[in-house]
Each structure stands twice: as C-alpha cells, then as structure tokens.
C-alpha cells in the first residue's frame, strides 16, 4: 500500500469503529436532537479556546520568568525553580485546578465569586504548564552553541543586535513546535475546568446531554470539535518542525 492509501484506510477503520459504536447504542442515533443547542455548544467551544489562549499566554510569560530565574547565577533562584518544578511534575492537573480554586485561592480571596473560581482554575492550568514552558525555553536557548556566541563577539555585534538578529530568530524557530504541542496539552487539559462549572466545551456538552438525553450524539460532536482543533495543530507543528529546522 502506498502512503496515501494507508492513511485513508486507517482513517476509514476509525470511522467504521465509530459507526459500530453508534449502531450498538440502545437508542437510535439522531443528530437532529441537538438542534437548538448550537449556540450553547458554540459558546462552550469558544470558551475552551478563550481559556486555552489565556493559559497559553500566562504560562509562556511565567515559564520565561522561571527560565530567567533558573539561568541566573543566584543559587537560590536555581533551587527555587527546581523545587517548584518537582512539585508540579508530581501533581495531577485535576488536583492542581482543585487546589487553586478551592484551597490556595480562598486563602487569599475571601469567598471567591463564581467568576473568580474560574479564573483560579485557569491559573491552576498556567501553573501546571509553566515548568514545561521553562524547559522549552531552556532547550531553545541552549541550542545556540558557544561557537555562535564567539562569532557574534568576534564580528562585534552589540548585545541588542545579538538578540534581535541572531538569538531570538533562532530561539523562536526552535520554540514554536514544542510550544504548539503544549498548547494542545492545554486545550485538552481545559476540559477539567468543567469541574468548576466553567462553561467550556465539555461542560456545555454535559448540559446539552442532560437536556436532550442525546448522549452519544453530543459526545461524538464534542469529540469531533476537540479533534478539529488538535489534529490540525499537531499537523502544523510537524510541518513547522520540518520547515524551520536549523540543521
């Protein structure tokens, strides 16, 4: 089989499997049950993306600050970021979100409102992803060789010019693919915000299910909506990886 056919057949098998699953449900499959709930689903979809972008932005900023701390010569900063990383690596995302919303948050905010709870949940995701972002920055900056720094020095580039024309353009290329992978992780992880009754996609679908009893239909719709973002994202990541490879 050539490559294209192999892929088509593979995709076909999964669609077939979905078909079997649908047929074997006790109630007949009826997508029209979902009509009237488009706005609700769309709102959920939009909130998922919205929360994910905020989490992405926050974790990139925080991850960069932690990178600077860990790269600093002050030993305390180094130790601090290492301890932070170990704690986060050992914590499930769901636990992190709960901890932020119901334990750590309330310690500093008196009776957080519903909206504040949602914000705390997003902060939980930000904190959780931060060490992964820090790692990306570390490996991107360390991939610029000592010899390149020697060349910059030899030719007499100013510090600003080094960053502007040589370091940052390379770092961004190295950074983008893993950053997009992390974005995908965030989008998937944001489904857990449903435990805080935040109306992202998963929660919106739960509402639709409870009102229509169209469990299978709503569930498959939700799944498809996640894949519609995550699969192109990972394809784009791979494409960028190839196109932007420096070596």
């Amino acid at each position: 089989m050539n490559k294209k056919v192999s892929y088509l057949v593979s995709v076909g098998i999964f669609i077939l499997f979905a078909g079997v699953v649908v047929i074997r449900q006790r109630t007949p499959f009826n997508l029209s049950l979902l009509s009237g709930y488009e706005t609700l689903v769309f709102e959920g979809f939009r909130n998922t993306i919205y929360a994910s972008f905020i989490a992405l932005f926050g974790s990139v900023v925080l991850g960069f600050i932690f990178y600077l701390l860990s790269a600093s010569k002050v030993r305390f900063f180094h130790a601090f970021t290492n301890v932070f990383t170990e704690i986060i690596y050992g914590t499930p995302l769901l636990v992190m979100i709960f901890a932020m919303a119901f334990v750590i948050g309330p310690a500093f905010i008196n009776r957080p409102s519903q909206q504040e709870v949602h914000i705390l949940g997003v902060v939980g995701i930000i904190i959780y992803i931060t060490p992964y972002m820090t790692n990306i920055f570390k490996s991107a900056f360390s991939s610029i060789s000592d010899e390149q720094y020697m060349a910059m020095d030899l030719f007499g580039f100013t510090p600003f010019q080094r960053y502007r024309y040589i370091i940052i353009p390379q770092v961004i290329r190295i950074l983008m693919p893993p950053l997009m992978n992390n974005f995908s992780l965030i989008i998937k992880g944001s489904a857990l915000l449903s435990v805080l009754s935040y109306r992202e996609l998963f929660y919106a679908i739960q509402i639709v299910q409870s009102r229509t009893f169209a469990f299978t239909e709503a569930f498959l719709l939700m799944w498809a909506l996640y894949l519609i973002i995550t699969i192109p994202l990972s394809q784009m990541t791979r494409w960028l990886e190839r196109r932007w490879a420096l070596e």
Binding site: Q148, M150, A151, F155, G156, Y165, L246
Partner: protein, 234 residues
Amino acid sequence: MKIEVKALSHTYDVQVLDNINLVLDEYKAVAIIGVSGSGKSTLLRILSGLEQPTRGEVFVNGRSVKEPGYKKTVGFVFQNHNLFPHLSLLENITLILEKTRGMSKEEAHAIAMENLRLMSLEDQVNKVPKNISGGQAQRASIARALSVNPETIFLDEPTSSLDPILTHEVLTAVENLRNIGKGFIFVTHVISFVRDFADYVIFMHEGKIIEQGPPTFLDNPQEEATKAFMQKVR
C-alpha cells in the same frame, strides 16, 4: 604579518599554554600543528583576540590583542563552519557588514557577492547552511571571514569534519587566496597542505612550542614528540 608573543601562559582548570614566546616577521602563512589537546586552538583563539590570555602579551601587526578594536582586524574560520543557521549564505555576510561595519545594503550585498563568488558559491547564495554540503559551508565561512576585510585570517581545523574530497576542495580554495595580501594563521592535520601553503610551522606539545621553522624542518624533525607526530600523520 608580524607576530610577537611574550611569556604567554593560559589556564582553564589546568595550565593549557605554558610560557610561549614567539617573534615572527614577514611570514604570510603560519601553520600550528600538534596532537589533539596540545593547546593549538587555545593559542589560535588568543592570537585572534577571541580569548584573553591569563598571562603575557600578544601583538599582531603591532597591535595588542587586548585592544578593543583588534577583533575587527580579524577573520576567523571555525571548525564546523559556524555560520548562523537561520540565515542564508548571503545574509550571513550582509548582516555583519550592515550591522557591525555600518555599510549600506547595496555595499554589503556587493561585497558579500564578490566574496561568495571568489569561493565559487554564486549559485548557492540564497540557501541556508543546512541545505548545502559541508565543503560549501566551510567555503562560505571563508567568504564570511574575508568579507570583513581582515588583516589576518585564522582557521581552526577547517576541514576536520570533512571527507577527503571536500577537504581537498576547501584547502584548494584557501590556497588560491595565497596572493590576496592577507596573513594566515591556521591549525590543521593535513600535512600536505602545511607543506604547500605554510611558510612557517609551529609544532606544539603539551602547551609549549617545541619546534618551529620553515616547513622543511618537518622532513627532519629534531624532537621525539615531533618525530612521533610526523610518523602518525604520514
């Protein structure tokens, strides 16, 4: 090219260069040879101003390597081309000329093209380093070194990562530069190139220069270490 080295020592964790003294005048191509770890690259980096010595004085063409402006008189060809990987061959040169030598776009472009042509790379100028051969990359690196119009060009084992055919290609390109009026100081393990191109040879052993002179001394080395080295490279 004038080189004057007085009581030069250099230490990293251990002493790497040990009281080196050298006075050379009117040689155009100086080869530094010796086994790996003998301090050749360190000496080359110090002579080129890339690194400051722990102790001693170094002058090239009457200028101290400590002078802030010294590095601008230097061209350096690194072991693994060391071109900026995100830039095309052309941009690798024009960026330097525009940003650090204050040239206009047109001027920089003209000089870059001239030197890339000199290295027979006129068809490759818009390619990035990963899309050309190791030999082409190394020649581009030489073009880059030439573009800043240096007085002296340093090369640190420019062919050590290349196969014999590409090695020949790169070394021939260097030999063709013989009469451009620049000084060359280089490290290499290719002894035939040393014999053809160098007019003075320095043999290093454990951080010291233990034998030196015109390349003919290689036919009849006096020191045991030099003899052993010549046995190995032959």
